[in-house]
Amino acid sequence: MTPLHYVRAGDRADALARVSSGARCLGGGTNLVDLLRQNVEQASELVDVSRLDGAIRERDGGGLFIDAAVTNAVLAAHPLVRRRYPVLARALLAGASAQIRNMATVGGNILQRTRCMYFYDVDGARCNKRQPGAGCDAREGFNRYHAILGASDQCVATHPSDMCVALAMLDAVVHLSGPSGDRAVPLADFHVLPGATPQVETVLHPGELITGVELPPPSDAVVRSDYRKVRDRSSYAFALVSVAGGLAVADGRVREARIALGGVAAKPWRARRAEAALVGVAPHPEAFLAAIREELADARPLSGNGFKIGLVERTAVAVLTTLAGARA
């Protein structure tokens, strides 16, 4: 780690002023400290935003506003999250370990970087994300964990967050503050696909700060929602694939379906094609499979991750079938 200056933000204005002049935001440090220590990233100044306000406030109409400094553990344990947004609580609890969830903040979780091992291997691997134009050793390398949707010749990395998959499914909105004012961006639009510029991972402008995340009031499909994560060991591992699902059924037909996929792309993947295919149909495993296959029609597996297509299909069908109360 190169020498750096550390300062604790006194309030949001202080944090913004420092971020505008080039400081990196430090939340729980569970990703950034590691990136700095391994020299994947460098920073001359860290502004610690982990002690800024960390409240979870109920909004008129039943939504929630979650401050960026709220920890993953506090959010997962919150009674209203557990009751109204079960998919979010389950996704948070699927991520990392209890120790890391006690440290990691909501803002930092959104901004965490890929765990592609070639991205981390500063001395031994080429990476277009770390060094634009250098090349990508993952595309023809050990790519079991990499993307099947939305990847490019330049980058096949996945976004590692579980929380963000649930947030994409929930139509969550990320609130930002910056030198030119405040703005709000849907979580599903916050992360961007790699294209020719894999070093650009989000729509966050230089000098901007994530101030919080807003959850709309829960729809029927959100109240009846869940998250399932498939990994190489049963806990404390990043996802091979994951599925956030929600289903509302009335009179034997799907009225509302919500599906988002993790471990498949550089961003949490909202499966809108599959959702649209399900509205109005009878909630049966065959219908769920047909819908998720529509979503995966554009999937382009690499040499080592073709299994993800079948794994997403089976996981999505299992989640939706359980939610429908039907037998698999």
Partner: protein, 169 residues
Amino acid sequence: MTIRVNDTEVPAPDDARISLLDLLREHLHLTGTKKGCDQGACGACTVLLDGNRVLSCLTLAVQAEGREVRTIEGFAGATGELHVLQRAFVEQDGLQCGYCTPGQICSAIAMAEELRRGEPSYVTPDIAAGPATVTREEIRERMSGNLCRCGAHNGIVEAIEVMLAETAA
């Protein structure tokens, strides 16, 4: 500003790059806390920060300013009697080499508090209601952030069950 470590105030380091783990081990000579991977993958460095379990390897020491740290050295009683979980680890063979043990014990003591607060885990069937019973599956999921390369997990789970039973009584 200082950091309170096992009830003693210590100054925060001038170099912001020093991890809480290195502060404990190299500067304060509290070598009970172990450095395993130094990248947040093994849990050997687990300590309590304001009562919550955290990884001291990924915590910059300056981030602990004004906070209270408790390490494995801080759990025995005033006259040296072991914490109930330390005793249970000995009795239930919760270790072989012992390298992961301080992290396991800190982690499990904090886990008991999380259970007492009724917090769910990924394997809790009803996430809104919280865990109805503390199954072995619950303990294993909640302790998954602490790896044991010797494979003493069965003894570790049994020691934790002893602690939970004794503290509930």
